[in-house]
């Protein structure tokens, strides 16, 4: 198996101000499926093509934003090894083990805070529920998609973009300890060694997580969900307009990753994205470099300039 270690983003835990409107948004408009609720009233959801029990966890709180992002690793042995590597690196703080079962249907998780202030978790086990496409049992003679899809219905939770200050420390941890590749970076022209944006991948995707340097700790720019085509992004935008969901920008294309995108807000002001496309990343692909002076087309390729909200609006 060529893809080992950290396999993929597994879950994102999002704080919402009020659960009822949040569920209307994430279930009826975005089209995730509710998978369960726990004793702390957290609600667990998943996208249709995900096989594990959940990928989004909503928690009602006094602040919007992201609690943490979870990463699935290939085995319990890898979980132990990476936890030790993280401890040894000295790059993470607040390391702790979260016992199995603290998330519904999930094994133990190793939680740590990266230098940009974001809480991350690794885990190896989450119960398998399948994608409901099999016609003769799970994964046997499957249809290409299941019946009963609702709203935008992306196939999976794909990545997050996060804002924080110590970008260099976070990039070092992800690349040197967790084995990620830097697919694309944004540097300043004045100081070509000063990085302001990092797009990191642990897989064949153009990014599994991205960070932009901002003078804040632990801030959340967006959680993104995957759609199969540009036309589906346009259709998603129709659904957002029809439901009077606040669209931030799009539909448009990103220069970085080449993804086609629309950004919008959940009822607590947390930004969501649905996107399609992007290229396939192999570890031998040279990193792509952008400079601050072309940040406009790097982020929004058609407008060629950032909208005011891109840097100011986050939770």
């Amino acid at each position: 198996m060529a893809l080992t270690g950290v396999l993929r983003p597994g879950h994102v835990a999002i704080r919402v101000l009020e659960m009822a409107p949040a569920l209307k948004h994430y279930k009826d408009i975005l089209g995730l499926t509710e998978m369960g609720r726990d004793a702390s009233d957290r609600v667990y959801l998943k996208a249709w093509d995900e096989h594990d029990h959940h990928s989004v966890v909503l928690r009602e709180a006094d602040e919007a934003g992201m609690d943490y992002m979870g990463w699935k690793v290939d085995s319990p042995a890898t979980l132990k090894k990476l936890a030790a590597d993280i401890e040894r690196s000295g790059l993470a703080t607040d390391t702790q083990w979260i016992p199995a079962g603290e998330h519904l249907h999930t094994g133990e998780r190793f939680r740590f805070t990266v230098p940009t202030g974001h809480v991350m978790e690794l885990y190896a086990e989450k119960d398998y529920v399948g994608n409901n496409c099999g016609t003769d049992g799970p994964n046997v003679n499957p249809d290409p998609w299941p019946d009963g899809l609702k709203g935008i219905s992306p196939s999976r939770f794909d990545h997050c973009l996060l804002y924080g200050d110590d970008l260099d420390g976070t990039v070092k941890l992800f690349t040197e300890v967790l084995g990620f590749s830097l697919a694309e970076k944004v540097m300043t022209k004045a100081d070509p060694d000063f990085m302001i944006g990092a797009f990191l991948t642990c897989s064949n995707k153009a990014h599994d997580v991205a960070f932009i340097r901002q003078p804040v700790k632990g801030k959340f720019h967006h959680a993104s969900f995957e759609l199969g085509s540009w036309e589906k992004v346009l259709h998603a935008s129709d659904i957002l307009s029809r439901t009077k969901t606040r669209i931030d920008i799009g539909p448009t294309r990103h220069g970085i990753t080449r993804g086609e995108t629309v950004y919008f807000f959940d009822p607590s002001g947390n930004r969501n994205e649905v996107f399609s496309g992007g290229y396939i990343h192999y570890p031998d692909k040279p990193a792509i470099t952008w400079y601050d002076e072309t940040l406009g087309p790097a982020i929004f390729y058609h407008d060629r300039e950032l909208n005011e909200a891109f840097l100011s609006v986050f939770t």
């Binding site: 340097r213 959940d266 940040l295 909200a309 939770t315």
Partner: protein
Amino acid sequence: MPQHRITIVHTGEEFGCDEEDNVLHAASDQLRRKDIPIGCCNGGCGVCKVRVTAGRYVTRKMSRAVCGQEEEASGCVLACKLYPRSDLTIEVVGKMVRAIVARRSTAFSFDFRATVQVVNPDKET
């Protein structure tokens, strides 16, 4: 439905706002200029923050990360969650980054106000 006059102190601009409408929505509907910055419109990002200097109002839930209890007690609220109960006088407090419109500027600027806060998921009250 009772409609109230909202006055923005430093521009002198006025607009009407129903009791069931929020001040940000009414402003963006009626004013030509974006006197109040428009962000998430949902109480999370804080860019539409205003201080109410006169008048009665109610609010809906706002993220404490961008509008703390003391701040709220001093009259600072997010315009997107502000519903008038009388005529209001407001000052705009929130801010957008205007420094980097990349087409015109070669400098990446971090010059904006933001609430720096780390939220520990296990310790939040």
